[in-house]
């Protein structure tokens, strides 16, 4: 799940300063689950913008705004009203905003900050679990990712900043992921994997940006 957070109304109004007629696009997938850009939040945002003197000309929650096909399908009936608006406020992740810009050709403004790729423990409790690094090694680490969960991205065990199984970054509140990995691999009787040397990562997989995947047809 892509975890997002709503920007403050103050910041949103600042970005909207030079625009009057606003069309709002929400997200029916991640932002709906995370409750930052679903039906309810889009309705609330429209209300707040109206109270702040903006003219909200329309709104729609697109099932998956990051999928160009769905974006086009779900906005088809709003073509004219979108055309008449000054700006689109996107209650989506950054990918959604860019898809909107690309396909609807209107000034677009992000209402959310895209935080991370994570899991939802409860609503309001989200944990980053994947950096989308392009080189998955979870089979070597007991299914616990050190790339994302160690602030230094250590690959060969804990650093000197671990004490009592906790991490120095953030004041010894979070678990040291290398202690979690040790415990897990020990439990699974797989400590040999823990002992093995992990070479430096191949950053070329991450550094050639932006990354894309294009299937080649045979």
């Amino acid at each position: 799940m892509i975890i997002t957070e709503q920007k403050s109304l103050e910041e949103i109004l600042r970005m909207l300063e030079s625009f009057r007629k606003v069309f709002i696009i929400g997200c029916g997938t991640c932002a709906t689950v995370v409750q930052t850009g679903g039906e309810e939040q889009v309705k609330q945002m429209a209300e707040r913008l109206k109270n702040s003197g903006k003219d909200v000309v329309g709104a729609v929650v697109v099932e998956t705004p990051c999928d160009a096909r769905i974006l086009r399908r779900d906005t088809r009936n709003f073509k004219n009203v979108i055309q008449s608006s000054d700006v689109i406020l996107c209650m989506t992740c950054g990918a959604g905003v860019q898809d909107v810009v690309e396909h609807l050709r209107k000034p677009s403004i992000p209402a959310l900050n895209t935080k991370f790729l994570g899991i939802i423990e409860h609503i309001g409790e989200f944990y980053e679990r994947c950096r989308a690094c392009g080189e998955c090694i979870l089979h070597e680490t007991g299914g616990i990712c050190p790339v994302v969960r160690c602030p230094k991205g250590m690959l060969n065990g804990p650093c000197g900043g671990m004490y009592d199984g906790k991490c120095e970054v953030g004041g010894y509140k979070r678990d040291c992921v290398w202690v979690l990995i040790y415990d897990r691999l020990k439990e699974l009787n797989m400590l040999d994997i823990y002992r093995s040397y992990k070479p430096p990562r191949d950053n070329s997989k991450l550094n050639v940006q932006p990354r894309d995947i294009i299937w080649v047809k045979n």
Binding site: K152, L155, N156, C159, Y163, D164, G165, E168, V169, V179
Partner: protein, 307 residues
């Protein structure tokens, strides 16, 4: 630690002599006179001296430049500390070649403290390599004369490669496995985090002696009660023993400055000379790393007292 002897530190450890090393922490300055003077004072008592690389992520003078100048102007051999926090593998490789060209022979390869702990918390943390990978990279540079991609280096550098270890780690098992990884990656010697509790040092040495790699135990003479309190409260896993703490607290109440200083020195000499004697007499420790930052004058006295 095989092959040609390339540094005095290596020679000392090879000879089996109980070896002392010191530590200097040049800060936000371009003038190294004070550190050169400190190095001259401890020369002859320590074989070599670590020069820290932006410790605790505080932005200071480059450890490479400081290692070179202090070694050149004091005649005391330096141990160039290099961390993975601020430089990617290209920069580290390049600095290593530069260090060798400048005559630096000892390096201590560390991961480095996290950027958020220091005085420039908004900096991008690099950590392209971790300490184990860095050790392996240096080993290959030295032994095989190649870079990380297998490309040959003209006149490859020679380094005596040090690694860090933490006897205070809790749990200790993941740290012991990391120690093993550093040995297999090619560490020639270890310098440990500060230890006050001799039992922790003994247990650690018991577990690590089988690798036959010299381990130099870190100690930290406490210049004042304030320093001791700071350590006790702020360095996790490092507890200053109660009797030492009480003695320092009592000394802090002495109003005469000179008498107070003399008392502090006496307490430190007693505690740490006993510590060193026990380490030397009963364990496999190869030496002691005296991290008395800002308290260098204690080193000659302590080394003599521990004889």
């Amino acid at each position: 630690m095989s092959g040609e002897t390339i540094s005095e530190l290596m020679a000392s450890l090879k000879s089996g002599k109980f070896t002392f090393t010191g530590e200097l922490e040049p800060e936000k300055t371009t003038n190294l006179n004070r550190y050169v003077e400190a190095a001259k004072k401890i020369k002859g008592y320590v074989v070599a001296c670590n020069i820290t690389d932006n410790p605790q992520s505080f932005a200071y003078i480059s450890s490479l430049a400081a290692s070179y100048i202090i070694q050149r102007d004091s005649g005391l051999e330096t141990i160039y500390q290099i961390t993975c926090r601020d430089r990617n593998r290209i920069a580290i490789f390049s600095d290593l070649l530069g260090a060798s060209a400048l005559g630096i022979r000892n390096v201590l390869a560390l991961t480095g403290d996290h950027t958020t702990l220091g005085d420039t918390p908004h900096a991008k943390p690099v950590f392209d390599l971790d300490s184990v990978q860095l050790i392996k990279m240096i080993r290959r540079i030295v032994d095989e004369g190649i870079d990380m991609n297998g490309k040959p280096i003209e006149s490859p550098p020679k380094f005596f490669i040090g690694a860090g270890a933490n006897p205070n780690a809790h749990p200790i098992e993941p740290e012991l496995i990391k120690f093993e990884k550093k040995v297999y990656a090619g560490a020639d010697f270890f310098q440990t985090q500060v230890v006050f509790d001799i039992e922790k040092a003994k247990n650690f040495l018991k577990e690590t002696s089988k690798y036959n790699v010299p381990v130099i135990i870190g100690i930290f003479p406490l210049k004042s009660y304030g320093v001791a309190e700071y350590f006790d409260k702020n360095v996790p896993g490092v507890k200053v023993p109660k009797d030492l703490m009480d003695a320092l607290a009592k000394a802090s109440e002495i109003s005469d400055k000179n008498l107070r200083r003399a008392k502090y020195d006496k307490i430190n000499l007693k505690y740490f000379s006993n510590f060193i004697k026990e380490l030397r007499g009963t364990t496999s420790a190869s030496g002691c790393h005296i991290m008395s930052v800002g308290y260098e004058e204690i080193i000659p006295l302590l080394v003599k007292a521990a004889e």
